[in-house]
C-alpha cells in the first residue's frame, strides 16, 4: 500500500520529458573502432582471452549473420539501423578485475545511487555484510562488481560474468551456450552470438535451492554502443533459482540498439523463475532517442517436471521486440509467462511469448496485461503450439488490454496450432478503457487525475505484480506511475 502512495508521489515529482535516469557517467571507455567485420569479432574475443572454440563460434555466427536480413513482421517501425556505424566493444578503463568493492570506481557507485537501486543492494555494493541479494552489476559491457560469490559458492552455486565462466567452467559454457537459442535463430540473436559483450552465468547444482535471489542491473552508458548481453542460466536436476533483471539508461539523442540473448535450461524437477523490470529510455515526447530493444529470451524445460516462469514489467524503450518463450520438452513440464507492457508517448511494443508443447502432459499459462497511452502502439503476439506427441498438453491464455486516451492502439495477435487432438488450449482476451466513471469516482475521493490513473492501472496489473518478488514489485509500481506520466490531460 505504501507503494501505491509512493507511486503517486513519483507521478507528481516527474516532469514531462524529464526522464529520471537521464544522466551520463563519465568513465572513459576502451573502444573498438566503429563498425563490424571479422577483425572486430576477433578483437572482442581476444580482449576476453577466449578459447579458440569460442572465437570460431563467434565467427561462424558473424558469417551466418551476413546472409540474414532484419525481420519485418513485428508491428514496429523505425529508421534503418546502420550496423557499420555502431561500436561493438567498450569497457570502463578502470576495469582490471577488482578483487573488492573498494576498487570499484566511486563514479559507478554514485551511478547506482542515482539509479535508485534498493538500499540493501547498495549496501552490498558498499561492502556491508548481511544482506541477501547478490548483485552482478553489469556496467556497460563488462561486469565490474560481483558480490556474495563466496556465500553462493558455499552452496555450490556459480554466479559470475559469462566471460569468466568461459574460463572457470568451460565445459558447462560449451555444452549449453546456444543450445536453447541456436546461433541462427534470428537476425538479432545471430548478431549477438557474434559480438556478445558480457552477461551473467548461473549454474545451480543438483538438488540445490539457491539461497538468495540473484539480481543484475543493466545499464547502457556509452554513446553509440550496441549492447549485446548474453545470459546463460542452468538449473540442474531438482534445483531452484529466482533471477531478477532490471535496468535503466541515460538520456541519449541517438537511438541505441540492444540485442540481448537469454538462455535458460531447467533439467529434471528444476525450476527457474526469471523476473525483469525494464525501464530503458523510451525517447522524448517526439519519440527521439529511445532504446531499440530487440531481445531473444528463451527457456528450455529440458527435464521432466521442470518449470520455467517468466515475469516481465516492460515500461521503457522506444521499440520493444521481445518474446520470452518456453520449450516444454520434458514430460509434465510447465511454462509460465506473466507480463505487464506499458507504452506511452510514441513507444512501440511488440511483445508476447511462445509456449511450445513437445512433451506429454505439459502445461502453460500466459497472463498478459498491456497498457497503451499517448500515441503508442502495443501489440501482444503469442504462439501456443502442441506437437503431435504432446498428449495432455494444456494452455491457458489471458490477454487484457487497457487503453488510456484515444490516440493509442492495442492489438492482440494469437497464433494457436495444435497437432495433437487431445491438447486443450483456452484463450481469453479483453480490451477496456479507463472509464470517466472510474476517474471521477477516484477524484471525488481526493486523487488527482494522474494519481487516479496510476491507481487504476496498478489494479489492472495486480495479478502480474503479485508474481514479482516483493521488492521488485514495489519498484515496478513506481515505474508504472512514472511511465504513465503525462498520459492524462
Amino acid at each position: 500500500m505504501a507503494a501505491v502512495l509512493e507511486t503517486l508521489e513519483t507521478v507528481k515529482s516527474v516532469d514531462v520529458d524529464a526522464y529520471k535516469y537521464g544522466f551520463v557517467t563519465d568513465i572513459e571507455s576502451d573502444k573498438a573502432p566503429k563498425g563490424l567485420n571479422e577483425d572486430i569479432v576477433r578483437f572482442i574475443s581476444a580482449k576476453k582471452n577466449e578459447p579458440a572454440w569460442l572465437t570460431e563460434w563467434r565467427l561462424d555466427a558473424y558469417r551466418r549473420w551476413l546472409t540474414m536480413t532484419e525481420p519485418k513482421w513485428a508491428r514496429v517501425d523505425y529508421p534503418k539501423i546502420d550496423y557499420q556505424d555502431l561500436y561493438y566493444y567498450s569497457a570502463p578503463k578502470t576495469h582490471a578485475g577488482p578483487k573488492s568493492l573498494d576498487e570499484v570506481d566511486p563514479e559507478l557507485l554514485k551511478t547506482y545511487e542515482k539509479l535508485g537501486i534498493p538500499l540493501r543492494e547498495r549496501e552490498i555494493l558498499a561492502g556491508v555484510q548481511g544482506a541477501k541479494v547478490a548483485v552482478d552489476a553489469v556496467f556497460d559491457s563488462v561486469s565490474v562488481a560481483t558480490t556474495f560469490r563466496e556465500e553462493l559458492s558455499k552452496a555450490g552455486v556459480v554466479f559470475c560474468p559469462i566471460s569468466e565462466a568461459v574460463h572457470s567452467h568451460p565445459e558447462l559454457v560449451q555444452k549449453y551456450l546456444g543450445s536453447v537459442v541456436p546461433v541462427t535463430d534470428n537476425y538479432f540473436a545471430t548478431l549477438n552470438s557474434a559480438v556478445f559483450s558480457d552477461g551473467s552465468f548461473v549454474y545451480i547444482p543438483p538438488g540445490v535451492r539457491c539461497p538468495m535471489e540473484l539480481s543484475t542491473y543493466f545499464r547502457i552508458n556509452e554513446q553509440n554502443t550496441g549492447q549485446f548481453e548474453r545470459t546463460l542460466i542452468i538449473a540442474d536436476k531438482g534445483s531452484y533459482v529466482s533471477y531478477l533483471e532490471g535496468c535503466t539508461a541515460p538520456k541519449r539523442d541517438e537511438n541505441q540498439l540492444h540485442a540481448a540473448v537469454v538462455e535458460l535450461i531447467a533439467l529434471e524437477d528444476a525450476e527457474i523463475k526469471y523476473s525483469t523490470v525494464q525501464n530503458w529510455y523510451p525517447g522524448d515526447s517526439q519519440g527521439r532517442g529511445g532504446i531499440y530493444n530487440f531481445v531473444t529470451k528463451r527457456g528450455d524445460c529440458r527435464g521432466d517436471r521442470s518449470k520455467i516462469s517468466w515475469t516481465q514489467v516492460e515500461t521503457g524503450s522506444a521499440i520493444t521486440w521481445k518474446y520470452p518463450s518456453c520449450i516444454l520438452r520434458g514430460d509434465h513440464s510447465r511454462g509460465e509467462f506473466y507480463s505487464i507492457a506499458i507504452s506511452n508517448g510514441r513507444q512501440q511494443v511488440d511483445s508476447g511469448t511462445k509456449m511450445l508443447h513437445l512433451g506429454r502432459n505439459t502445461t502453460s499459462r500466459i497472463i498478459s496485461k498491456g497498457i497503451s497511452a499517448g500515441r503508442s502502439s502495443n501489440t501482444y503476439r503469442g504462439q501456443v503450439f502442441a506437437h503431435r506427441k504432446a498428449d495432455g498438453a494444456r494452455n491457458f491464455t489471458n490477454c487484457d488490454s487497457l487503453l488510456i486516451g484515444n490516440a493509442c492502439g492495442a492489438h492482440t495477435v494469437p497464433y494457436i496450432e495444435s497437432r495433437n487432438s487431445g491438447a486443450v488450449f483456452e484463450h481469453e482476451a479483453t480490451t477496456s478503457k479507463i472509464s470517466e466513471d472510474q476517474l471521477f469516482y477516484c477524484m471525488q475521493r481526493g486523487l488527482s487525475a494522474e494519481e487516479a490513473t496510476a491507481l487504476i492501472v496498478n489494479g489492472f496489473v495486480r495479478d502480474v505484480l503479485q508474481q514479482l518478488p516483493m521488492e521488485f514489485a514495489v519498484e515496478a509500481q513506481k515505474l508504472i506511475a512514472v511511465s504513465l506520466e503525462g498520459s492524462v490531460g
Partner: protein, 249 residues
C-alpha cells in the same frame, strides 16, 4: 456551508439544471426529493466537479469559496464528499488500499501528515465495525462483486474516514433492506455535527424517518420548486409529485 446560486448546467447539449438555487447551512441536513430525471444526480455531479457537465451560469460556494473552477480532487480536499448513487468498481484495487490512498491524498493536499499504517488500520477498523463492514470485504477489490447494500455501506464508511465538511448522499437508501437502512442511517447520524452540513437526495420518506432533515426541497426540471420543513416530505409521500410539479409549471 453549501450555497448554490442560479445554477445552470448541461451535458451533450441537453440542459438539465435550470437556475437551481439552494443553501445548506453548517449543521443542517437538507433533503432533496424529486421525480426520476429531475436532475438530482446531475446536481450532485456538477457540485462535485464531474468534467463532462458544462456549467453555463451560476455559482457554487463551499464555506464561502467558489469551487466551480476547482478540479474534483481539490473540492474533495476542501471537504466535499459525494456518496454515489451507483458506486464504481475499481478492479484489482483492494478496498483498504483505496481508502488509505484517498485519505492520505486529502491529508497531503491540506498540508497534514500522512497516516501511518497502524494509525490508519485502527481508524478503519473502528469505522468498519460500526457499519458492519467485514475485514474480508476490506480485502476485496473496491466495489467489485459487492451487493447494492454493501456498496452503500462502504460509501458511508468512506465518508466516515474522510470526515468531510459537507456530504451529499445520492439515493443512499436505494437497494437497502430495513436493517441495512438502519446501519447506514446510524452511520450518517453519527457524523452530524454543528460544523458539517448534508444534502440528502432521496425518493422516499422512509430514509427521512431515520435521518431527520431540517429542511426539505422539492426538485423538478432542474430547479427547486418548493422548500419547507420535514412535513413537506410527508405531504409528498401522501400525494406524490404531481401537484407540486403542476403548480410549478
Amino acid at each position: 456551508m453549501l450555497e448554490i446560486r442560479n445554477l445552470h448546467a448541461e451535458i451533450d447539449g441537453k440542459k438539465i439544471l435550470n437556475g437551481l438555487t439552494l443553501t445548506v447551512k453548517d449543521g443542517e441536513v437538507a433533503a432533496i426529493m424529486g421525480p426520476n430525471g429531475s436532475g438530482k444526480s446531475t446536481l450532485s455531479y456538477v457540485v462535485a466537479g464531474r468534467s463532462d457537465y458544462t456549467v453555463t451560469a451560476g455559482e457554487v460556494f463551499l464555506n464561502g469559496e467558489n469551487i466551480l473552477e476547482l478540479p474534483p480532487h481539490e473540492r474533495a480536499a476542501r471537504g466535499l464528499f459525494l456518496a454515489f448513487q451507483y458506486p464504481v468498481e475499481i478492479p484489482g484495487v483492494t478496498t483498504h488500499v483505496f481508502l488509505r490512498t484517498a485519505l492520505n491524498a486529502q491529508r497531503k493536499a491540506r498540508g497534514e501528515a500522512e497516516l501511518k499504517t497502524a494509525e490508519f488500520m485502527k481508524l478503519m477498523r473502528a469505522a468498519a465495525d460500526k457499519l458492519s463492514v467485514t475485514q474480508e470485504m476490506l480485502r476485496r477489490p473496491l466495489n467489485v462483486g459487492f451487493s447494492g447494500g454493501e456498496k452503500k455501506r462502504l460509501e458511508i464508511l468512506q465518508m466516515t474516514l474522510l470526515a468531510p465538511k459537507f456530504g451529499i448522499l445520492d439515493e443512499t437508501d436505494s437497494g437497502l433492506d430495513i436493517d441495512a437502512l438502519r446501519v447506514v442511517s446510524d452511520g450518517v447520524n453519527d457524523l452530524r455535527a454543528p460544523d458539517r452540513g448534508f444534502l440528502v437526495i432521496t425518493h422516499y420518506q422512509r430514509l427521512l424517518d431515520h435521518i431527520k432533515p431540517d429542511t426539505v426541497h422539492i426538485m423538478a426540471q432542474g430547479r427547486i420548486i418548493k422548500t419547507g420543513g420535514p412535513e413537506l416530505a410527508l405531504e409528498l409521500e401522501k400525494n406524490g409529485y404531481r401537484d407540486f410539479v403542476a403548480d410549478a409549471a
